[in-house]
Subunit: 341 residues, 2 copies
DNA sequence: AATTTTTCTGCAACCGTTTGCCAAAAATTG
DNA sequence: CAATTTTTGGCAAACGGTTGCAGAAAAATT
C-alpha cells in the first residue's frame, strides 16, 4: 500500500533535492520556479515536475533572508476580544490574502509599552504593520513610522499614513437626531483617555452642542467593554440627562443590559446612541441607534495603502490618508425626550 | 536636536555590527546574547551594551534557518468573522504570547482545499498549527498530522491530538430541559454538512430523544451565519415543532431576529436553544438559552498540548486528547410548550 | 613556578535561497 | 558555414545567524 504523502522523506525537500532530482544546478532550479522565463520551457517543466514529485515548498525564511522581504504584515489590535477589531481583521485578512501576504495578528492588550516592544521585537519579521487603535504617543508613533512602513487606523498623526473613520462628523448627525427628538441635555460616555478617537468624538460633540444650543457633558472614562457599561449606565442616570452618546457600541450594549436590570426604559426614559455598529448592535435589546462605521472597509483600505507603499517606496513623500464617512443608523434605542416637570 | 531612535542607521543593525562595536567575534556576540553563561560576565555586558546602543534585534528568519524553529504557531479558523473563533483566538493568543510564540492567523474560508493548500504553503513557516474547526477529511487531517505537530479543536480523528468541547453531552441536558418544559417534538437546526461537530450534535440529540420518548427531526443544512437564521426560522416554523436546538448561537440569533420580524413569540410559541454561548448570546432578545462552551479555555488547552509536544516530541506516542465539558445556561429563549389542541 | 583544568573566544562550516557574472549552447545572420 | 547575437545554465558569493571544534587565556592545583 502506498503512503499518502511524501512519506519516506524524513525532512522536507529542499531546492537542492529538486535540482538533484532533475539534474540541474540549484540556481537553475531556483530560477525555474520563481522566474519562469529565465529558463527553457523543457527544463522548467522537468524541474516543476520534480518539485511536485518531492512535494517541495520554498522555505520562506530562507527566501526572506536574501530578499529582505517576509511577505508578512503585522496587524496590531489593542484587544482581540473587541468585536470592532473583528471586522478590521476580517478586512485586512481578506485583502492581504488576495495580495499573497500573510497576516501576523498581535494583541497589545491596551498597553503602549507592550505595543512598542512588540513592534521592535517583531520588526524584522514583517514588511509592514497596520496599527488598529494604537496606544502609542504621537512621538513614538511618528518615530516608528519613520523606521518602517505602517498605516494607522483611526489615528491622525503627522507623518503617519492612516485611515480615519470620520465618526466625529457622524456625531453631529447623531446630535441633530437627538435634538430633533427634543433632547436638550446630552451626556458623552467617555472611553479610555489614551484612546485617540475618544477625544475627537467628545470635541465634535461639544462643537455641535454649542451650535444647537444644548448642553453637553461627559462622564467617565470607562473601559470600552461590556462590563463597564454598568458603571456607565449608573453615571448617566445620575447625571439626569435624557440622552447619551457612548464612546462605542460595546459600552452602549453594556449600558443597555444594566438599564434593563434597573428597570429603566430605553428609549422611554433615556435614549442611547452608540458608535461603530459592531456585531450585536442590531440584535441587542432594544436594537441600538448607532454611527455605522465602515470597519471592514477600513481594514481593506489600510492594507491597500500599506501595500502601495511597499511596492513603491517613493510615494512615501505623499502622506497618504484616507477618510471614511460614517452614517447614523437609527434603530430603537433613541426616542422622544421624556416630558419633565 | 537628537534623533529619537537609532537614526543614521539606514538598515537595522546585524550581529556583525554588534560584534564589531564591542570588539569581539560574531560567534561570541551570538553566544553572549542567546546563551549568556557561555561568556564571561564582563564581555557579555559589553556586548549587551553595544546591542542596546545599536538597537539590535535578532533576525528571526536567519535564526529559523539554522535552528529550523520559527517560534510561530499557525491558528487556522474557518471564518474569522464567526464570534466563536474570537474566543478561541483570544485563548491561543494569550497562551502563545506567554510562551514567547507568535501567532499566525489564517482564515480558510470554510474551504477544505484552501485549508489544505495553506497548510502546505506555510508549513515551513511555523512550528505547529492549531486547527479550529477543520474542514479536512479524516484522511487528509491524519496525513497532515503525521507531517507536522498539530492540534485540532472540536474534531476527533484517530492519530490527531485534539481538544474536544463536549457539546453532545450538553445536548442531552438541553433536551431534558425542553422535555421538562413539556416539549415533545423537537427539531435540530443543522449546520454545514462538512462540519464535524454538527453530526455529533445531531446524533446525540437522536439518542437522547429516544431515551425520553420524544420525536427529533432535523432541518437544514444551514450556513452557520446570522443571515441563514431567517431561512432556518421559517423551516422550523414550517415543521410545526414547539422547540428547536440550533447548531450554534449565530444561527439561533439569526432565527430570533427573523421570528421577531414575523411576530412569532419566543419562547411563547417556540423555544430555542443555541450552542456555544458566544458573544451576544446574553444580550440578544430574548437572551438565549444555550450550551455554554469553554471556548477560550479550549484555545488555551490546545496551545498547551501543542507546545508540550514541541518541547518533547517523544510524547507524540501518547495521543493527547482533552475533553472539555459544557453546561446548559438557561436564559429566556426557552419556556413551557404552547398548549395545542 | 610549572602544570593541569576550566572557562572563553574565534575560526569556519552550515542552514536554504537568490542573484550577479560569465561561459556554453543555441539561434540568428550574412 | 563562420561570425555574431541571444539564451540558458552553472559557479560562487551573499543574507544573518548558530554551533562544533580547537586554541588561548585564566584559574586552580601541585
Amino acid at each position: 500500500m502506498e503512503p499518502l504523502v511524501d512519506a519516506g522523506q524524513d525532512r522536507p525537500a529542499t531546492l537542492a533535492d529538486v535540482a538533484a532530482a532533475s539534474g540541474v544546478a540549484i540556481s537553475t532550479a531556483s530560477r525555474a520556479l520563481s522566474n519562469p522565463n529565465r529558463v527553457r520551457a523543457a527544463t522548467r517543466e522537468k524541474i516543476e515536475e520534480a518539485a511536485r514529485e518531492l512535494n517541495y515548498v520554498v522555505n520562506s525564511q530562507a527566501r526572506a533572508l536574501t530578499s529582505g522581504k517576509t511577505r508578512t504584515i503585522a496587524v496590531m489590535v489593542s484587544d482581540v476580544t473587541n468585536p470592532f477589531y473583528f471586522d478590521i481583521i476580517r478586512g485586512t485578512q481578506q485583502q492581504l490574502k488576495a495580495a499573497g501576504y500573510t497576516q501576523l495578528l498581535v494583541d497589545t492588550e491596551e498597553s503602549d509599552e507592550l505595543e512598542d516592544s512588540m513592534m521592535h521585537k517583531l520588526r524584522r519579521s514583517f514588511d509592514g504593520a497596520i496599527l488598529a487603535a494604537s496606544r502609542l504617543t504621537d512621538r513614538n508613533l511618528a518615530a516608528l513610522a519613520s523606521e518602517m512602513p505602517l498605516v494607522a487606523i483611526n489615528r491622525q498623526t503627522s507623518g503617519v499614513p492612516s485611515v480615519f473613520i470620520d465618526t466625529p462628523s457622524g456625531i453631529e448627525q447623531a446630535l441633530g437626531h437627538l435634538v430633533s427628538l427634543g433632547h436638550r441635555d446630552i451626556v458623552y460616555v467617555s472611553g479610555p483617555e489614551t484612546s485617540w478617537p475618544n477625544e475627537g468624538r467628545w470635541r465634535s460633540l461639544v462643537r455641535a452642542a454649542e451650535r444647537h444650543g444644548v448642553t453637553a457633558r461627559r462622564v467617565g472614562p470607562f473601559s470600552p467593554k461590556k462590563v463597564a457599561g454598568a458603571a456607565a449606565a449608573d453615571a448617566v442616570l445620575n447625571s439626569g440627562a435624557t440622552a447619551c452618546i457612548a464612546f462605542n457600541d460595546l459600552l452602549a450594549i453594556g449600558m443597555l443590559m444594566r438599564l434593563r436590570e434597573r428597570g429603566v426604559n430605553v428609549p422611554g426614559d433615556l435614549s442611547i446612541v452608540g458608535c461603530d455598529d459592531i456585531f450585536g448592535a442590531d440584535f441587542c435589546n432594544p436594537p441600538l441607534t448607532t454611527l455605522t462605521a465602515p470597519i471592514e472597509q477600513a481594514g481593506r483600505v489600510a492594507v491597500s495603502i500599506l501595500l502601495a507603499r511597499l511596492d513603491d517606496p517613493t510615494i512615501s513623500g505623499a502622506r497618504q490618508t484616507a477618510t471614511l464617512p460614517t452614517h447614523l443608523t437609527v434603530r430603537s434605542s433613541t426616542g422622544p425626550a421624556p416630558i419633565r416637570k
